[in-house]
Structure formats: C-alpha cells, structure tokens
Symmetry: C2
Subunit: 118 residues, 2 copies
C-alpha cells in the first residue's frame, strides 16, 4: 500500500486492497501510530459486529468511509440506540466511551474505512 521515500511515505488507500471473506474478519492495517494518534485502514466485506457487542473506546475516533457503505449503531444514554447510514464520503466523530457497533456493511462491494484515533 505504501513505499517509504526519504522521510515521508506515500501510498494509495484504494490500491492493494486485500480480499477478505464475509465469514472471516475485517482487515485492520495501521498506517501511523505515534504520539497518541493512530490512523488505520479497515476493509470490511459484509461483516457486522456481533449482536449486543458494543465498542467502548478510551480514545476519541473519527471514522470516514472511502468506498462502500455501512450502518453504525450508536447507543443513547437512555439505552435506546440510533442507526446512522454511511456512504462514500461520510464521516462520524465518535467521542471516547460513546458506545457503538457496526450494524452492517455493504454486501455488494468492499467497504474501505479510514479511522483516526486520538
């Protein structure tokens, strides 16, 4: 995905996309991890979070969909939840400890995410 040139690295997030199976795991690749900041590319192929599984993260997350589509489920404080549909270009800023799960991802094409944790 990237090559290292002098002190800077260059790559393309839409290239060298690994094939993943819908019955396998999503693919997480770390692009940068330093000074409390992490940038990941995530490849989904129809996966979703298990029922009743909720992410509860110590860091704030900013997540962006480059390709494909997905639905996030955000837990409300009263224990209800809200679905957020994401398409190419969509982003969501998720505060630390905002419980969320991936309700679904596109089953007709790979979904490519860029996730930033800080």
């Amino acid at each position: 995905m990237s090559d290292k040139n002098q002190d800077y690295s260059v790559g393309n997030l839409l290239e060298n996309v690994p094939l993943v199976r819908s019955d396998g795991d999503e693919v997480f690749e770390t692009l940068i991890s330093k000074e409390g900041v992490k940038i990941e590319r995530i490849i989904s192929n129809g996966q979703s979070s298990p029922p009743d599984f909720w992410y509860d993260q110590d860091q704030e997350e900013w997540v962006f969909v480059l390709q494909g589509s997905a639905t996030l489920e955000m837990k409300n404080t009263d224990d209800s939840s809200r679905l957020i549909d994401l398409v190419a270009g969509s982003y969501v800023q998720i505060p630390a400890h905002q419980k969320h799960r991936v309700a679904k991802t596109d089953t007709t094409q790979q979904t490519i995410w860029l996730a930033l944790f800080f």
Copy 2:
C-alpha cells in the same frame, strides 16, 4: 457539511463542497481541532503554491486526496526537489519541517483533500 447529534457529529466530505474560483484562494474548513490534533477539509480549484513558496510546519501532516488530483513538491536535503503525483485515494505522510509545496492541482475538477495535523 455536518450536523450535531447528541455528542457525535456526522457529515459527508463530498457534500456541500463550496465553489471556489481558480483566481481565488483554496477553502480550508476545520472539522476537528483539539488536543493537538486538527482535521481539515481543503478544496482546491486549480490553485498551486506561489513559486518559491514552501510550507515548513511545526506539526506532522498526513494528507489524503478524496477527489481530483494534485502534485506535491518535496524539498530534498540537498536542495533539489521531488514531485509526487496524487490521485483519488493517495496519501502522503509529511514529517514536521519537511519543506513542501503544492506544485499543481487538477484544473478539470475540484480537488478535495483531507489533512490531518498532529
């Protein structure tokens, strides 16, 4: 570009793209600025950096092209430079104080960048 829902915000980087003129400035919009991290959307319409103008930033930058194309010029330590062509999906990690300039941006469509400073 975004709406605020409870504690999280949602938007689409490919929507509500402001029109900019090639004889005007690029448009910089801050999506997040906190805890030493800044995320910007930048819209270019054929602009480039002035001749002999070099960015020299205190923060590391990770920049990504969502749409359009551009060429960055990176200054080498021996004062020569290297051109890096970017298309949709391309990213470059630019260390702090790596001198660089925008040699050109697409003149046939708007270029939409996502820039992360940390």
